[in-house]
Amino acid sequence: MSLPNTVAAEFRKIVTLPAAIVGVVLGTAMTLVFTAMAGSSRRAKLDAGMADDGSTYDLGLEMAAPGVVGVIVTAIVIISSEYTATSKDAGGGRQILVSLTGTPRRGELLAAKAVVVALVSGVAGAVTIGGGLLMTQVLLGRHGHPIGELMGVLGWRPVGAVAYWVLTALIAFAVAVMARSGIVPMVAFVVNTTFVSVTFLLTRVTSLAKYLPDVAGAQMFATGYPAESMVTPLTGAVVMTAWTVALLGVAAGLFVRRDA
């Protein structure tokens, strides 16, 4: 099979995987709903006389970091579902054997999955971030900013937020390929989206933690990150991309050599 066909097959698979659909749809919908709630509650506060400190520009980006959980779930199940055995009544088989029979070139299969993860998380990220930015400005009412001004102030940061979604999804995917199960990556990545994330805790212990993928990547869109002397947005993008490439490389090395 050629790569476009394999990508099409993987796309068909993800569309028929309920957990993947639930992840993307819930992740996007929840982020938008909570962003809208933040927008209207901010408007009420501004109407009540709170001073605008300029953070109204950022309101649409505030939920970008926790919202990434949805595409993390999707990226994990696209590979962990391959290793889940069906019930004994249905033969007890695993999808991965069928997939590798259909696409014997393992690198191609993994590349196709990575392309699907990147496309799905990119579209979900663009819809969520774009929708969140527009919605907050509308909900802010007279405190909102015109789109041109908003884009001028934010610059590349919305693009950085979408890139953060895509790269985070690819990293979660790479880890799930290594683990061949969904439990470990699911716990690790979800725990890391808590208020005080594990990686943020590490920034307090060692300054090297600023080069961890999510800490560096968050600099692409975050303002007022609660730790000092973080990397610049561009360095953050380079660092997170390097992590993604390296982890995908390790995952591909394992996937090509290991038993299915």
């Binding site: 004994k88 439990i183 005080v196």
Partner: protein, 258 residues
Amino acid sequence: MTNGAWNTLAAELIKLRTLPAALITICVTVLAAAAFAAALEAAPFDRSLTVAEATLGSVEYVQAGFIVLGVLSVASEYAGSQARTTLTSVPGRLLLMTGKAGAYLLTATATALLTVTASCAGAWLAASTQGTVAVGGVDTGQGAVGGAEVVAGPAGGDLAALARAAVYLVLIGLLAQAVAALLRDVIASLATVLALVLVVPRFLAGVTSLADYLPGAAGARLYQAGPGLTPVEGGLVLAAWLTLALTAATISFTKRDA
């Protein structure tokens, strides 16, 4: 076939003990607890923490381990046809569910005690290597219990808070067990409970005070003072979540096909 409560409990305990994932979860949870508490103690956010405070701070992270344990204790049966074998041996569904809950509660209680102890040890080690002899106590919501010399070990008020943290860890895993009985799938149950306890609060914070009524936030009031609910209210809200989830799980488990 058995209809004996003790036999069922013993069988479920054997099952849990021979589940490699459960044993790994327990070990990782205990070790991670020590590491998190040590990190919190070594690099506190705005002021230096007592050993007890660093331990309570690590609960936020290690609760994930108890959620995994709760989910595994039920959902692993549905990965194959284990659930039907189990129901053939123990046809009384309510009895089986009680046995499962009992086995989880015993295992989780032991794990929670180990976890809190490991956390204290980690924080104490971090504190003593730094040579900081912080003096103070933990605010348990009923007024600060002060004056405990920390490197000498937690004082009585701290111990009460630590015990309540252990209770919270066991209960949040019980909630996960109930959700797993409803959803019958490891990944789906994990995603649901972890999202409810860890992710949704981050969205809701600052937007609505309803965030205080989520199981994680309400349960946290049991061992840590904070905004929103009092310890008693927090406990009641967590109890309400548990009642809801356990009732739904019981109805579903007794009525549905295996």
